[in-house]
Homo-oligomer: 289 residues x 2
């Protein structure tokens, strides 16, 4: 994302916890900053992209956090996936010093970031979200303003709730097909384009069949996101049994040692519940078309 | 389906439980048969399309069932969604009298049947399935031979397992979004084309938002299909927690009086769990794009 901003001509001051990761960008013209506070010093827009709520809190509100240097009129943008209630807290803190906040989590993954094809879900004041269009169009292929502070994060939670149950279905369906002795590529050919079809089936199905569980999207990050969604839902007095089941199944995936695998590793945990190996033994394909 | 067969020039003898439904087809050239047995008399291919396993058994093996008139060399085709183990039983009965059986359930729904765009999942002997190509191409847009007897039904179960968990995700995600005060059309715009996207979200999402729960695909038929899948999974010693949750939630949908609504009526049962109305109160949409 920083690379795309540099290529478009933005001046970027950059801080990461692991400095090595920044070297190539510094070589391309980014300025190294020793802390989030240093990165925010004099900036018009400060973008944060870290994972866990406590980390976001430290980056925002710590002694060396970006709020320590945030000037009035500046815009703080949190592009990580973090709690909607935290987005509202950041918004309140920004307003208190005459600055602005936007929550703008993304979907599209590593590939979307590399190819500047992220989908951006933005929450915040309309004019402020619109003013950031040059950034959105540099790192993303689409952006939608969802409403006030927190709405971007809530929209990301909708996205993650959809993926959570989708993955259960994809993994259970493949497990059933394998157990029934079906030729899975043929099954996918029959079901992928109709009412049972989804991005997850088309993209994860073939990888799961081959036993390819490399990330993609990490199991442990997904568990963090589902935890946020469950916390928010509980706070809103909302019961989501499907999401709760997905979260528990992913806790099992992590417990079995697959926390740093991709979310398609759910297949391994589901197969293990029934004592089955994965990938399944090969099936001789019937002829036909 | 019969209308398309007549239009293509097939000679069709036809039996249904409700004769009125057949009148228009008889007017177009189909011959009325007083029983499945009469419909099968002298036929090269006998197609059954009924719902419940006991009904299929009666149509096949009853005193007036089609097996009573099935001639050697004829092909029995079950295009309903019925248990894979029943397909194997029909196959064995057909072989015992020198005939053939094919299980060929479909996806695509009422619309697919009317528009001859069904997707056909066929199980049976390769040569026999291939010999039926004139029928497949008349009523469907695609067909895939999945393997021996029962494989078509097993593939349909894969399809239904995918839809079951998809619907939980779509309904929980919309419920979360509504509860969080989001503008749902905007949310769908943001999440439909990425990793969270699916046919179900694109097609059912807008109907659910409007409170349109007309079928489509009936809740009570879906419960029947999920029951078959759970029975078969149990028989194969396969635990499918997501499918089991979906089936239980749909039992609740039916218990609340929505058995003859479309499967998107799951939203009503999920909202009721948290004491929420559906559709949700309107939200004023933010500007932006």
């Amino acid at each position: 994302m920083v690379g795309h901003l540099l290529a478009r001509g933005f001046r970027v001051a950059l801080h990461t916890r692991t400095r090595d990761k920044a070297e190539a960008l510094v070589a391309r013209g980014a300025t190294w900053a020793d802390s989030p506070r240093a990165a925010a010093d004099g900036a018009d827009v400060v973008v944060s992209m870290v994972g866990l709520p406590d980390e976001v809190r430290a980056v925002m509100f710590g002694d060396d956090g970006l709020f320590a240097a945030l000037r009035p009129g500046a815009i703080v943008v949190d592009m990580g996936t973090t709690p909607p209630s935290l987005a509202q807290e950041i918004d309140a803190a920004a307003r208190a010093r005459g600055a602005h906040a936007v929550d703008a989590p993304v979907s599209g993954g590593d590939v979307g970031a590399r190819e500047a094809r992220l989908s951006i879900m933005a929450g915040g004041d309309t004019a402020i979200v619109a003013a950031l269009e040059p950034i959105w169009s540099t790192v993303g292929k689409s952006w939608v303003h969802q409403g006030p502070a927190g709405s971007g994060q809530h929209t990301k939670m909708v996205n993650q709730i959809l993926i959570a149950t989708l993955m259960i279905g994809v993994c259970e369906a493949l497990l059933y097909g394998a157990r029934a002795g079906l030729d899975l590529p043929r099954v996918l050919q029959a079901v992928s384009s109709g009412a049972a079809g989804s991005w997850s089936l088309t993209n994860y199905g073939p990888r799961i069949m081959k036993g390819d569980f490399e990330p993609g999207f990490f199991v442990e990050h997904f568990i963090k996101d589902m935890g946020i969604a469950l916390d928010e839902a509980r706070r809103m007095r909302l019961s989501l049994p499907g999401l709760a089941l997905a979260e528990q199944l992913y806790v099992a995936v992590q417990a079995q040692g697959y926390g740093k695998k991709g979310i398609q590793a759910l297949e391994l945990a589901l197969a293990s519940i029934s004592g089955l190996p994965w990938p399944p033994p090969p099936v001789s394909a019937p002829s036909g078309r």
